[in-house]
Each structure stands twice: as structure tokens, then as C-alpha cells.
Subunit: 386 residues, 2 copies
């Protein structure tokens, strides 16, 4: 492995990494063939999102997602960066380089995948999806996004598959779009960026969305966004709202609401995926079970222990947590059938995410499951024709 | 091991457990002597707290700690419990049994320790400490608490040691009381229940407290409480504010504020202890370092990576997380010198916490460090005379 890991881990941009690094050869399987790599939390945007997102930025307000969105979508040109700013450890400067990578669902992305031995991106609309738009704009842009996503998959059917966007602002329209995404567009599931207008999916008005996901038997990926306004105050300093801390708190809290509200008893076949090595919930699992068993507190409605919902309803991905020790913990805690590999492209660089997977101490069976078999099963991705 | 583990894990009260269970014999060391057990997060209250806490309950307000406090300190007698209510998985019923256990820093507590082979309780004032009282009451009750604590330690010097309370509402008085607690009362450190009036210790007005802890070279234990009002909204349902979820989020957020504000660069020798297997921060450490390296975001002031602060400034305890897999992860991630055993008495039962430690797969050296040596070093607890 002749990757300069320190440089890569410092946050170098994918394009620069691809230029500097030799082609990454993934660890061969015992029979000499490569192990397929399906990356399961890979972001894109469509150009039509940019204008409405800039409207959101101009409108302003307390929402902490605006901090990152201003960097990615703000009208500051790259030329305005401090001279010498490089996308190294400085995540602010790095964020300003992301938009071209997000917009590319063709040659540039495929080049990065090829250079690093990644077979498939499971694509999803980048944070915050359509969830910060007013209702009609959100519904229209979700439809347009799914059309574009479907076109990209049809252009490159062996390289891309996709999770549909939907507009939680209009739950009935969302349910219809979810049906179209699976039955007509043949997409592989759905992705939501945690709360919408500061409300979580346990709220009854969102139940048509959960009902549709369950009826279509397609997984719902709950991706982070910054904490909702009602919990935002302590996250307003030191950029605590984002990927270093707030994202995990927000998404973990969302999952806790789904579990303790009892909605997973109402929709027992709902399948949910969460990223970032399970947002630390595997590490909390013993305490969640001890403190959160059925009947543990007035006001909780869960009929199962939290770990039982994890066995029945949840899978996790490794996005953004390239820690062999955490991967081993997650496998040992949840079972290897519940863990999938992801890059979090383009927010994380491809080469180190690949190196992490290649270097992980896994049995051949575990490697196959985490690298592609679980993704094929959970997202109904066609097996490779090899 | 003939503990009925299921019954114990269900939350049976300690008194009942002591009656049912045989005396627990801890695993002998290779030379046939017992391994000393120092439990490092063990709660008590003094009777003079009850009246003021009931005043806090009568005053009411948005603070989510009131939910648990109403169960422990509310004027509902045990006779008002639903008939047949048992302190099993029902944590609400269990909470109503806690007050006598919290008030006992003599025979009853020693009996529980003896029955389970626990040598020492490092005592600390139970949640929420004096932090919900108005300033003068808080200052007076912190002083009285520390006097009582010191008396209990003098009555039973080989069995009890203690962490002093202080009133963050008056930082200068707090600093003076901290000095008295270490230099006159010979206590072993301090404990704070996370935020005070919704503010965190990175706020400059609290710096006299951090300065005192550093100057006295005595550790500051940051214990959970329910999330501060500015982040409380999504924790207001399903009892998410408490031990199952909100406590960890609150305390982890507090630690993130200390790290990213740069106060640990201002007070580089400050020693901090956090419970609950590190409030999941060990599991987040890779991502914290990746996303939170120095210079990662405008508005952050940390000069080190988060993991470097953990090596320099932090230790953790196992309180309330009796998970062998999480213990192994924490040791492998932080190093065995950073991990101490705790029960979280009386909120958690003693017997299963002891069984967890006895059954953990540890080398003899690791067992000694986690069971007592780290606590002796970190809290300056006198070695056993054996």
C-alpha cells in the first residue's frame, strides 16, 4: 500500500488525490478476482438545486445547516479563498471545492471510481436534499432529482444505482413519489436528511412516508443534517453543528424517537439504514437496552428492546468512520449482515475509504458482505455479471 | 457465578438483590488475594437537599431534569405506587425507591459493598447537585455537602473517599470551596453535573473553576444531567432526556465545547473524568480527529486533535455500561491507563456491575488498573494497607 495516508487523511480533495496517487489495487479475493466494492452513501446534486439553495441562504434564519451550505453553495468564488488555501485539514476551504464534484454524475465521478477500484456508487441527493425548500418547490425538485438520478443510472447501469429523494413537507406527495421511484424508475430506496422543519419522522403527519417505505419494502436511509432548531443552541459555537459532532447527535436522536415512540411497532417491516458506523448507537446499545427496555418509562411505547429493533429494522454503513476498531465493534455488536461499506463521497476522499476497507481485518466472508453482498441484498442491487 | 443475571439486570433494587443473592466473591488475583475494587461514580445526598429540591419541583419550568427529580424527590409516597409495581424494568418505579439508598452513607451502603466485595466508594453528590438552586443556597449547600462528605470519609476512611460539590453559580466562591475541599477536607476531586443555568464550562465566567481545578491538580468529574433548555426540545418526548439517551448527548456536547473552544489549551493540565464508558466519545474518536483537527473550521480554537486531549486531559469510567465489548474498545482506543471501574450506585445495582468487572476478559495488569490502580493514581486515593 503506497498511499501517503497522512496526506490523504488530512482531507486532500479527491481530484488531487487521484492525480497524486497511483491506481489503487484492491485486495484480491482468494480465487484471484477482485472483491466488488459498492459504496452506499455517495452524494450528488443537480444544477437546478443551486438557485433555490442560494434563495435559502439569502433568506437566512437560525438553521445551523446554513453554515455549511454557505461554503458549498454560496456565491463566493474559489478565487476569493485566502491565497494558499488548500483542502487539507481546513474543512472550510475543502467545502468550497465540493460543488463541481457533487454535480458530476458522469465522467469525473467514474474516473475517481476507476482510479480507486470502486465498482458502484449508490447515489443520493446531497445534504439538505429538498428539505429546506417551501413545499411545492420541494415536491417539484424531488421529482426532477429522481428523473435525473434515473437517467444517470440508465447511462451507467453497472456503475450507479440510487436512493430517491422525496419532500417530507408534503407526505402524501412524498408517498406517491416513493412509489414512482421504486416501481417506475427502479431506484433502490430513499434518503431523508433527518428532520424536516424541525420535526421527526415519528410525527403522525409523516406516517404516510413510513407506510410507503414499508409497503414498497425499500430501505429508508436517514442521513444527518445539523440539529433541529429546538436543540441547536449549544451547537451554535465552534461549528459543533456539523460532521464533527452535531450530525451524529441529530441522527441518533432521530433514531431514538423512532424506537421509543413505537412507530417501529406500527411499521414493523420498515427497513432503515444509518451511516457513520451507526452514529455511535452500537456503542450505546447495552445502555439503551438496560435503560430502554419495554415498559421502562411512562411515555415510551416501544414493544421491543432497542437492540431488537436494530436486528429487525436497521443496517448501518461505515461512511466517514474509517476506524478498523469501530468497524470490528460494529460487526461484533450488530452482526456482519448489518454493516455496509460507504465512502461519503465527495465529502470524504475515495482513496483512504478504499484503503480502510482493504486493510480491515476481516474474514473473506465478512469482507464480501461488507464490500457488496449486504448492499446487494438490502438495496436490491443487481449482482455483478462477472 | 450463581447470580440470577436476568433478574439483576432488570433493575432490581440493591437492597433486594443483597437479600436474594449470595455474597459475591470477586475473582482472585494470581497470588490468591482479592483485587481491590474502587467504585468511582457513586452517588449520595444529604437530607438538607430534599427541601430545596422540592422547592425546585414546585417552581417547575422547562428544565427536563424535573422529570426524574419528581420521581426521586417528589412527595409521592411509596404507598402511592401502582399495586404490584416492582423495581424491575420499570425505571420510574425504581426511581421512587432510591432516596433511602442515596441518603445512606453508613451501614446500609457498607452492607451493600460488603455483600458484593466492593472495597471503596468514591462518593459524589447525586444529580443535579446544587446546580438548580439559587446562588446563595447553592453555595451554602455545597459547603454543607462537603462537610458531611468529609465526616463520612473520616468515619470510614478505608471505605469512602469523595468528590467535592461546588456551586458554578458563583465561580469565585466555587474556587474557594474547591481549595478548601482539597487542602482542608482532603477530598479527591470535584464533580459537576454538566451545564449550570444552561451554560457550559467553556464560558469565561466559569474559568475560575477550571483554574482552581488545574492549580489544585485534582480531577473534575463531569457527570450528566438532562440536556440544557436550548437543546431540550427533541428530548422532551419518550423520556429521551435521561439515562437512555439525553445524558450522554448533553455530556458529550459539554466535552466537545471544552475541546473546540480551546479552554484545554488555556488550562492544559486540567484533568477531567467522564462516565458511561466515555459517553461514546471513544467510538467517535476517529471522526472527531478527522473532522476536528486543529484549523479544521473557522471558529474553532483547539490546538490539538481531540484524541490528543483525551490522552492528556481525560479519563473515563465504566459507570452504567456493563458491556465487555465496549470496555475492550475503550481500552484499545484510549489505553488502559484511562479507564476506571464504576457502579453508578444506587442508580445501577452493585452485583451486576461487579459481575461485569469480574467476567471481563482482562489481563491481570489491566484488571488491576481498571479495578483500583488508575483510581488510586487519578484521584490520589491511598493504597490499601493489605
Amino acid at each position: 500500500m503506497n498511499i501517503n495516508r497522512r496526506m490523504v487523511l488530512g482531507g486532500i480533495s479527491t481530484a488531487a488525490a487521484a492525480a497524486v496517487l497511483p491506481v489503487e489495487i484492491s485486495r484480491p479475493a482468494p480465487d484471484g478476482t477482485r472483491v466488488r466494492k459498492i459504496a452506499t452513501e455517495e452524494a450528488f446534486v443537480i444544477p437546478e438545486m443551486i438557485g433555490p439553495l442560494r434563495d435559502v441562504l439569502r433568506r437566512g434564519g437560525p438553521n445551523l445547516d446554513l453554515k455549511l451550505l454557505a461554503l458549498i453553495y454560496g456565491e463566493v468564488s474559489a478565487a476569493a479563498l485566502p491565497s494558499g488555501a488548500m483542502p487539507g485539514a481546513n474543512r472550510d476551504a475543502f467545502a468550497r471545492t465540493l460543488l463541481p464534484l457533487l454535480l458530476d454524475i458522469d465522467a469525473g465521478r467514474l474516473g475517481d471510481m476507476d482510479a480507486n477500484g470502486v465498482d458502484v456508487h449508490l447515489l443520493s441527493l446531497g445534504i439538505p436534499g429538498v428539505q429546506m425548500f417551501e413545499r411545492d418547490t420541494a415536491v417539484a425538485l424531488a421529482t426532477l432529482t429522481n428523473d435525473r438520478l434515473s437517467e444517470a443510472v440508465r447511462r451507467h447501469p453497472t456503475r450507479f444505482c440510487g436512493l430517491a429523494a422525496f419532500a417530507p413537507q408534503d407526505p402524501n406527495a412524498a408517498a406517491k413519489e416513493m412509489e414512482r421511484a421504486i416501481n417506475s424508475l427502479k431506484l433502490n430506496g430513499f434518503l431523508v436528511n433527518s428532520h424536516t422543519d424541525n420535526a421527526y419522522l415519528d410525527a403522525p403527519r409523516f406516517w404516510p412516508i413510513l407506510e410507503a417505505a414499508e409497503a414498497l419494502d425499500a430501505p429508508l436511509y436517514i442521513h444527518p443534517r445539523a440539529p433541529s432548531d429546538g436543540m441547536a443552541a449549544p451547537f451554535g459555537d465552534y461549528r459543533l453543528e456539523g460532521s464533527a459532532w452535531g450530525y451524529g447527535v441529530e441522527t441518533g436522536t432521530h433514531v431514538m424517537r423512532l424506537i421509543f415512540s413505537g412507530v417501529l411497532d406500527r411499521f414493523p417491516r420498515l427497513r432503515i439504514v444509518i451511516g457513520h458506523m451507526g452514529e455511535a448507537l452500537p456503542f450505546w446499545m447495552w445502555r439503551l437496552d438496560f435503560m430502554g427496555a419495554p415498559g421502562s418509562r411512562a411515555g415510551r411505547k416501544n414493544q421491543l428492546k432497542p437492540s431488537e429493533y436494530f436486528q429487525r429494522n436497521f443496517a448501518i454503513t461505515t461512511s466517514g468512520v474509517e476506524d478498523p476498531l469501530a468497524l470490528r465493534f460494529a460487526i461484533d455488536k450488530l452482526g456482519v449482515d448489518h454493516v455496509m461499506w460507504a465512502i461519503d463521497y465527495p465529502y470524504q476522499a475515495t482513496a483512504p475509504a478504499v484503503a480502510f476497507l482493504d486493510a480491515a481485518s476481516l474474514s473473506d466472508q465478512e469482507r464480501a458482505k461488507i464490500s457488496y453482498q449486504n448492499a446487494e441484498r438490502i438495496f436490491r442491487i443487481a449482482p455483478s455479471r462477472q
